[in-house]
């Protein structure tokens, strides 16, 4: 693992950006789970949604701490309480509330595994002693997703496949255009290039292949499939926020996550 002191400014910034993308995604994922704490299919499933939500908020906290340790550009209060939706760098598939339990299970399975692949691929010790705990918790989340996908795909394969189709395309696009670094530099620079050049992470398209390999076996195992998905448009790609539009999470979600209504007590 590489130490902070050994990094040049450009590389440190690229790591800091990567950590913000991962932290914001974990935060939104935790929030999406929390929205189902009182409406999951059974009391026990509510309990599990609450537990996983708490895990994800913990992972977000560890990643935010690592992000903040690498940048002088932002204060913690500003990061947690003052950003507008278009300033969040989360995976776009988390912009909206999962409307059904099926959508939540599918969304969480595809997105959490994608985040996990990126965290594992980063050859930089960002989360230190939290690593073992996070891996242990993520192992449960993986199993939770697999078991529920099996159940849902058996009960209603059409609805489950529709949820997979919708979210897969977004998560696939999240990793960005195919990584020919030279070509990317020529027409649409990615701000994660220093990570690749410093051998701190493979190109994101390679991480996407690893993610595909891990999730495809589960999806096929439960009798579903992934849709044919084109590589995202290089011209429209935002290399910082990893998205094809200038949107962000829905306003009510951000107001809750920022704690707007409890601002007077801070």
């Amino acid at each position: 693992m590489t130490e902070t002191d050994a990094l040049d400014k450009e590389t440190a910034e690229a790591i800091s950006n990567e950590l913000l993308r991962l932290a914001d995604s974990k935060l939104l994922l935790g929030y999406r789970y929390s929205q189902w704490m009182f409406s999951a299919p059974s009391l026990e499933a509510c309990n599990a949604a609450s537990s996983i939500s708490q895990d994800e908020f913990g992972h977000a906290r560890a990643l935010y701490t690592a992000h903040l340790s690498m940048t002088d550009d932002v204060e913690e209060d500003e990061l947690m309480h003052e950003r507008e939706p278009e300033e969040y760098w989360n995976a776009p598939a988390l912009d909206q509330t999962s409307e059904t339990w099926t959508e939540l299970v599918v969304d969480a399975f595809l997105i959490d595994s994608a985040i996990g692949e990126l965290v594992s691929a980063l050859e930089y010790d960002a989360i230190g002693r939290m690593q073992d705990k996070i891996e242990q918790e993520e192992s449960f989340h993986d199993r939770y997703g697999h078991v529920w996908l099996t159940r849902l795909a058996g009960d209603d394969p059409e609805a489950t496949q529709a949820a997979v189709d919708e979210t897969f395309e977004s998560v696939y696009a999240w990793f960005g255009p195919e990584n020919d670094v030279r070509q990317l530099q020529a027409d649409s620079p990615r701000t994660d290039e220093p990570l690749v050049e410093a051998d701190l992470r493979p190109p994101a398209s390679e991480v996407r292949e690893q993610w595909l390999e891990s999730v495809e076996s589960v999806i096929e195992d439960v009798g579903l499939s992934f849709p044919d998905t084109p590589s995202p448009d290089r011209e429209a790609w935002d290399g910082d926020r990893w998205r094809l539009d200038d949107g962000g999470p829905d306003q009510p979600s951000i107001e809750q996550l920022r704690g707007d209504e409890s601002a007077a007590f801070r």
């Binding site: 299919p41 026990e44 499933a45 537990s51 099926t102 199993r143 939770y144 078991v147």
Partner: protein, 70 residues
């Protein structure tokens, strides 16, 4: 779709050490053993178990001398 409610009850057993053996720690609702196991793990995760098992309540057999429901 709506996810159906699950009426089958699974009893949850767990052990904190090999010496103490399994003890009954509660129950969860689920309609198959895989989901019951997940629920057991999520609901009863406050202690450091080394073993946890679930069994459908309706697969527990009465002992004639003490037959009945609780």
């Amino acid at each position: 779709m709506s996810v159906q409610s699950h009426d089958r009850i699974y009893e949850v057993f767990a052990a904190q050490s090999h010496e103490t053996g399994l003890e009954h720690i509660g129950s969860v609702h689920a309609d198959d053993a895989d989901i019951a196991a997940l629920h057991g793990c999520a609901v009863y995760d406050e202690e450091d178990w080394i073993v946890m098992k679930v069994v459908p309540r309706d697969r527990l057999y009465d002992v004639d001398e003490y037959a009945g429901d609780i």
